[in-house]
Assembly symmetry: C2
Homo-oligomer: 228 residues x 2
């Protein structure tokens, strides 16, 4: 029986761009677990009310409901240990830092490049909620936040330096093979890839090379994702 | 037989402030390995010429010579596996990212607060080399780099946000107990602690609370370190 994943979708239901849902898509694929995704929109409160909260990813695995990407990753590792996504107890603990860095540095870094593009691809019924909540959080209009992004590109790319340093020593964040650390970062980069046509990465950047390898993993799961 | 560690020292040989050497001090203490430190100055080229390069930390373990903090940490884990500092293969791979973040974000973030304080505590014979090499690297005088540091404190403290997010979920970077990830970050913070009287951390910050716990580990190894 497949695991059900409630997965953020755009106006076009085949556009899937949530960085948190993508972390879980990669983790499920890594473990070879079949998944059935359910397109979900920000305003579909009722569809996931059974989870007791209002955000995706949410999974249903038989009778079990789990939400929050980190919690889902831990659930999957405990329930389906092989092949591992954390690489042991230290791998799990240390992946917390990579998750925290992605959430507190990478996501806020990316949002300023794609927020208006995001607005344009989400479902019409989500747009008012999205604009209001994001403009309140960011203190400016979506248009203002995204403005002048070309000039901010170099500073954004500097933020990726820790990834580059790791890739000098090993092919993946997980070492010789991809781990949940790679899923976290590549999942985060699926967000701009699937929501915007803006080229955030320099093709010559080792980070782009590594991301390309992740896109090709799991029968090209990331590569095949619909682009906007 | 003790492991010999060549350890960067100030004019006062009991002042030890290298962030890289501290990572190894903590790792050795974690493993309960006796160490004999040899105070070393930047210009003591001959003292570590046997290692084939010019920087510390360098360790001698019997006939074996190892340099570079990451390489030493791996050597220690392979040669003396218990108690582990990495927590398995995933822990080792993922610690690379934390090491890379410390080196590319934390160290450059800290240097601008303490570079002139550092200059004042290093050995007189090191000062000309230190000033020239650092001013060339930073493009300004040591005095200029450190200037106005109070105004930059909030921005620096923002950089620590990934650590704070991790500490909301677990007491140490390593999870329930300290690991080499904690040694990396605490070792990095020993640098400003042992080279400057400037208070980089807010005492109310969870990062300061965690750092205080690391200072108390290993019979108070960090706590007992000489302050400038």
């Amino acid at each position: 029986m497949s695991i059900i994943l409630f997965d953020l979708a755009g106006a076009d239901p085949s556009l899937r761009f949530s960085p948190f849902c993508w972390r879980i898509r990669f983790a499920l694929a890594h473990k070879g677990l079949p998944v059935e995704t359910v397109p979900w929109r920000f305003t579909d409160h009722e569809a996931i009310a059974f989870s007791g909260q209002g955000r995706v990813p949410v999974i249903r695995d038989g009778e079990k409901t789990v939400f929050d990407s980190w919690t889902i990753a831990e659930y999957l590792e405990d329930r389906y240990p092989t092949p591992a996504i954390f690489g042991g107890s230290g791998g799990r603990s240390h992946a917390q830092f990579i998750n925290a860095w992605a959430d507190s540095v990478l996501l806020p870094g990316i949002v300023r490049f794609i927020i208006h593009d995001l607005f344009e691809i989400i479902a019409p019924q989500d747009q008012a909620y999205f604009r209001t909540s994001r403009e309140q959080r960011l203190g400016r209009t979506l248009e203002q936040v995204q403005e002048g992004r070309e000039d901010r590109l170099a500073a954004f790319r500097d933020l990726l330096q820790p990834i580059r340093l790791v890739l000098r020593r090993q092919p993946f964040l997980g070492g010789a093979a991809a781990s949940y650390a790679d899923h976290i970062l590549a999942g985060t980069l699926m967000w701009p890839r699937c929501a915007s046509r803006f080229e955030l990465l320099d093709a010559a950047d080792p980070v782009a090379g590594w991301f390309g390898q992740i896109l090709d993993l799991y029968d090209g799961l990331g590569r095949q994702a619909k682009l906007p």
